[in-house]
Symmetry: C2
Subunit: 287 residues, 2 copies
């Protein structure tokens, strides 16, 4: 199923961006725009049309949940290297939906309280309720990404986590949550250019952290940790999608398409009245 | 200070909508559009211009908080009778801001766990952090509104709450939170028309609840409870604003103006770099 509102989107984003057996991260071109035959200019129109559709689909899903007519929810997991565009996705794609239907969590460095618990403890608490689109800006995957690269836990604990993540995601899926896992894939060169822009522009300085360059020095290690995470946790019920992200406009369209296709499959309908309409009209008219 | 981006807005919304000594709720005209000289058509343009400005002001405020350069936050408290338009305010005014800077809480009927605690317990947990615009869709005021009308607590406990609310809001304000308290004021007739529309339209049935008519029967009691809440809790540091809301477009503009004026007073600036820019450029270029 393709996102019907995006005119120049001509493939099933969930298929073509999906991490399947044999996937090799380093062979993906971050400049590419797979599935989209339009250009940057057309993308703005398509994004706006998609926003309209996403907004309506989300409202229907939310409506169903309000009358206990569905247990469906969506969870968008966003992972990426610094400056890859997570913030832009949240602002321009997620931001087009009614905030009342969004449950956004930005996972930061764990607090001492969080560190004293299992790594999934803080994540469990942020799972979206029925009717909501949950968004994780970073996620439990940090615990097998920076956790692995920076050796923040013993190797056997890191190993254990892949299985724990799969169990967790299976349970969520069984309970009605559609999980969309996205890695925004920028190139090493593109990251340099974007970090440099943050250094050039006074209105971007606050986004820059000297630690970003230290993390950048570990780039190949991160790519390897992502590759391992994909191999161990791209499951049938919660597959990974790698979205080429050097072109911001493409990445936004692609993530919007993933959301649209997912909710189109749920196919939420306006729930029927669970009261007697004629009787209520009478009662109301009498007031 | 007027919201500079709204061309047809010609007053300080915080002044003209404010609940001052001697205020009488039932003498306010819910059809009125005080402070705005444009019409519905112009309002769309003004709302869009205001959204742009609000978005930028919010990002600056957020940026400052990220480098610990401010303890300022904003808390918008929305109270109203059913169908008065809280949802529309959240969708069309709050929804124009980057979701990363919004902390929205919809307060429902308290859970047994919440009821076992002081009424402010669940509210304290949802106070916005520095840099955020917190939004309360219903709030601690329910505990002196429906709480009073439906006698959900003993009279002396209801009485105690006004003072507790003032203490709480004073503490918040002292910690850097600007509190904007808004009551959306629709007329009894307008509510009937809106509830009837929910009964007429299949895509609105989910928003209707037979209990709405029961609450409507208590209308004068609610107006009286609002009047008392205004008298007891419209303070210098956290005044109430009553926004005429029969015209949805006006209410949205007015709440946007309240937000704009509040953040304009904070006057957030892009924070300066807290690192050596030249040195970082060199480090980055070397990668």
């Amino acid at each position: 199923m393709t996102a019907t509102s995006q005119r120049y989107w001509d493939a099933d984003a969930r298929e073509i961006l999906r991490v399947n057996e044999g996937f090799v991260l380093t062979s993906v071109d971050p400049e590419a725009t797979p599935g989209y035959s339009g250009d940057k200019e057309q993308s703005a129109e398509d994004l706006a049309a998609g926003a309209q559709e996403l907004s309506e689909l989300q409202e229907r899903l939310y409506a169903q949940s309000r009358v206990d007519a569905t247990d469906a929810s969506v969870l968008l997991v966003l992972q990426a290297m610094d400056s890859a565009g997570k913030g832009g996705i949240i602002r321009h794609v997620v931001g087009s939906v009614d905030p009342q239907g969004i449950a956004l969590t930005s996972f930061k460095k764990p607090t001492p309280e969080e560190l004293a618990q299992d790594f999934l403890w803080r994540v469990e608490k942020r799972v979206p309720e029925p009717g909501f689109i949950g968004v994780f800006d970073r996620s439990h995957y940090e615990d097998v990404l920076i956790g692995r690269v920076r050796e923040l836990a013993p190797p056997e604990e890191i190993e254990r986590r892949y299985g724990a993540i799969n169990d967790f995601e299976k349970r969520l899926t069984d309970a009605g949550t559609r999980i969309i896992k996205v890695m925004l894939n920028i190139s090493y060169e593109e990251q340099r250019a974007r970090l440099m822009e943050r250094l050039e522009r006074p209105d971007k300085h606050w986004k820059y952290n000297p630690g970003d360059v230290d993390e950048r020095a570990m780039w190949p290690h991160y790519m390897s940790a992502y590759q391992t995470a994909f191999e161990r946790t791209s499951t049938e019920y919660a597959p990974w999608h790698v979205v080429p992200a050097n072109r911001k406009w493409y990445a936004r369209l692609a993530v919007q398409a993933l959301l649209l296709e997912t909710i189109e499959v749920i196919d939420p309908q306006w729930p029927p009245a669970n009261f007697d309409i004629a009787e209520e009209k009478e009662r109301l008219a009498a007031t």
